[in-house]
């Protein structure tokens, strides 16, 4: 009996030690998390990233960094930024909506717990968790919760804007499309059954709206836009990258170069390539969407890739 009591006492001690350690670990994670959020929210922190980035590279390349667009690294998933926004939401009432101040429906405490559980669950579990979050937010939005819809806007506004910008290559048009897409979503979210993920639904809606816009544009404006009129001042942010790529400055520069070439491609090459390689559409879907035969779509994508490869090769040789 004494042995059993000793064993039980020993087990109790171990459990209490373990829970203490767990508590300490959670506190450390929470404090680190808070610091990261501060860095993301604070514009000065972004500047700091730029300075660090410039410090990593040789002096000769520093000038080129200044001359070209700044690349900021959001080392966390985009949702981190939005989760940080969640905390702000808790303090600030929803001022934009017609209903005035609406309390944060999802609750700050909940989001805090989510953050911790998200970290302990690991990066691999991040995506399904996001989908679950989306489902909750969509369900609440369908019930008329404006705060939940605002969160969806904050989560996906840049995603929608980016997709629109790459296809339309005009920041004002991209803004218009982003607003139009979210108005459509706001007005019809009650009818969304959720058979596909919200992100997929939103992405396809954005692409459809952009293609419609391009069709209207091609009827009214001359298609051949001078490359000089293209916007060069856009800023590319990488999200959800693995750490090896984050550290590899040259990979990021090359990706930026590739994106720049894509944006400058002719519409007949650019749109199918973006749909295929950046949006994962099938050749069949692209063919239906842009109303061109599958053969033409395949040829144009092949040619677009060849143009990109040739230009990259040329740039590489030029640097030597």
């Amino acid at each position: 009996m004494k042995n059993k009591e000793n064993i039980l006492n020993h087990l109790d001690e171990e459990i209490s030690d373990y829970s203490n350690n767990l508590g300490d670990m959670e506190k450390t994670i929470a404090s680190k998390n808070a610091t990261k959020h501060l860095n993301i929210e604070d514009p000065a922190a972004d500047d700091q990233d730029t300075i660090d980035l410039a410090a990593e590279i040789p002096d000769t390349d520093k000038q080129s960094v200044k001359d070209t667009d700044n690349i900021y690294l959001a080392s966390e998933h985009p949702d981190t930024e939005n989760l940080a926004a969640d905390d702000q939401d808790a303090e600030e009432p929803y001022a934009g909506g017609p209903g005035g101040a609406i309390p944060d429906a999802t609750g700050t405490k909940d989001s805090g717990q989510d953050k911790d559980s998200g970290i302990s669950a690991g990066i691999k579990d991040q995506k399904p968790k996001d989908e679950i979050d989306d489902k909750i937010l969509v369900a609440k939005s369908q019930q008329g919760d404006k705060a939940a819809f605002e969160k969806l806007v904050r989560l996906y506004s840049k995603y929608v804007y980016t997709n629109a910008f790459f296809i339309l290559r005009d920041s004002h048009d991209a803004e218009d499309v982003s607003q139009e897409v979210f108005v459509k979503v706001f007005l019809s979210i009650k009818n969304f059954r959720g058979l596909s993920s919200f992100k997929t639904w939103l992405r396809k809606l954005t692409i459809n709206t952009c293609i419609d816009k391009l069709r209207i544009k091609s009827k009214t404006i001359n298609r051949k836009i001078s490359l000089e009129t293209l916007e060069e001042g856009y800023e590319v942010v990488f999200t959800d990258l693995n750490h090896n790529i984050e550290r590899d400055f040259f990979s990021r520069e090359t990706v930026k170069e590739v994106l720049s070439i894509i944006v400058n491609l002719e519409e007949s090459y650019r749109v199918p390539l973006i749909l295929r390689d950046l949006q994962d559409y099938s050749y069949r879907e692209i063919s239906i969407l842009i109303k061109k035969p599958i053969g033409t779509v395949k040829t144009n994508i092949h040619r677009a890739r060849k143009i990109i490869k040739d230009k990259m090769k040329y740039e590489k040789e030029k640097k030597r």
Partner: protein, 98 residues
Amino acid sequence: MDTLDKYLKIAKKAVIRPGEGDIEEKILKRLSNINDKDEKLLDDNFLDYLKKTNSRPYLISEDLKNNPGKYLMLSAAAAIFFVLIFVIARNASKKNSS
């Protein structure tokens, strides 16, 4: 993997930060000013899209059409599996009868 494919894969994770102002705020401001005229945005194209995305048979048929190879492989694997089961069951019944 092709080098370009590698860069395009990374490019999928790129997000453009809008130059002028905050896009989130602009969208939220626009949403706060929704009126009856905005109902016009829900045109036939959009309603058709909404109807299609809310239809499970349509989504399955689209998936089938977009990934014919995948389903061909799956059905071939399923056919082989059932043939194997059938052969094993027949052999077992023959052994039992003998």
